[in-house]
């Protein structure tokens, strides 16, 4: 193409939380595969891992667009909108 692609990427802003994230995701993935999909959905586990990871995110998530999602209650906004347009829940 004659012009060199710039490969410079901003370092991910949440990398200070990488270890806490990995710890939480490992715990969540185990709970999801071994409990949630097997019918044991009475309670969400990995609470302490989640707290630590979220506290770290709240400190390091400098992007305002993203940090508002940490607070929002309407977690499934996008899906709910899709469902109300399409009540059967199926794609066109």
């Amino acid at each position: 193409m004659g012009i060199t692609k710039r490969e410079k990427r901003s370092p991910p802003s949440t990398s200070p939380c990488a270890d806490l994230k990995a710890a939480y995701h490992n715990c969540f993935n185990r709970w999801y595969s071994e409990k949630f999909v097997k019918g044991h959905w009475d309670k969400l586990e990995c609470v302490s891992e989640w707290q630590k990871y979220r506290d770290c995110l709240a400190q390091h998530l400098d992007d305002k667009h993203l940090s508002r999602f940490l607070e929002t209650e309407g977690v499934a906004d996008l899906i709910d909108q899709a469902d109300s347009k399409n009540p059967s829940g199926a794609f066109k």
């Binding site: 710039r6 410079k8 949440t14 995701h25 993935n29 999801y32 959905w41 969400l44 499934a76 794609f91």
Partner: protein
């Protein structure tokens, strides 16, 4: 103008395994190389409705700005933030994901919807994935005059990436299958 396309893929793995793979897709280091356009994924919010057996999740997905290289020059940003909302309904065995960009909205709107359901022909062993993507260049943006071309380029790029995503999912499912049988790969 909006460019939209749909894709469908059957995984010959049960729904429980495929949706587990979907959660793990971005975390594995080997997958990170294959999905190099995904720079960071963070879980922002997670809620369980224990009565309904529904799990709600919001994640932030930071991606390398899509489309041809000159887009990044014009918009002046190398990265794009997206938000992904997921609902998993364990009772009815469905997983729905919707992803939308929340930065660069002045220029472009991309929305991707994915559903994982048990395959009607073999609901206990197979899973069908249906994906819908729509890409729209904002009419008054600096990209508008070449909107059609850019949308086409974005579609091509997205399709390449979703092919990579499917390979990663297949690999992850095999890994989980082996793990469940007590074999380490």
């Amino acid at each position: 103008m909006v460019r939209a396309y749909a894709q469908e893929h059957t995984y010959k793995h049960p729904w429980e395994r495929v949706t587990s793979a979907s959660w793990r897709k971005f975390a594995d280091p080997e997958n990170k190389r294959a999905l190099s356009h995904i720079l960071e994924v963070d879980t922002l919010n997670r809620k369980l409705d224990p009565e309904a057996g529904k799990l709600y999740t919001t994640r932030a997905v930071t991606i390398h700005t899509p489309g041809p290289w000159f887009i990044r020059k014009i918009v002046g940003q190398e990265i794009c933030h997206c938000v992904e909302s997921t609902v998993v309904d364990a009772k009815s065995r469905s997983m729905q994901l919707a992803t939308r960009n929340i930065s660069l909205q002045k220029f472009i709107e991309v929305e991707e919807k994915i559903r994982y359901d048990p395959h009607p022909d073999n609901p206990n062993e197979w899973t069908v994935c249906k994906q819908e993507t729509s890409i729209r260049i904002k009419p008054l943006s600096v990209l508008a005059s070449m909107a059609e071309k850019i949308e086409q380029k974005c579609v091509e790029k997205f399709q390449q990436n979703s092919a990579k995503g499917r390979e990663v999912m297949e690999r992850m499912c095999k890994y989980l299958e082996a793990e469940s049988k007590g074999i380490s790969l």
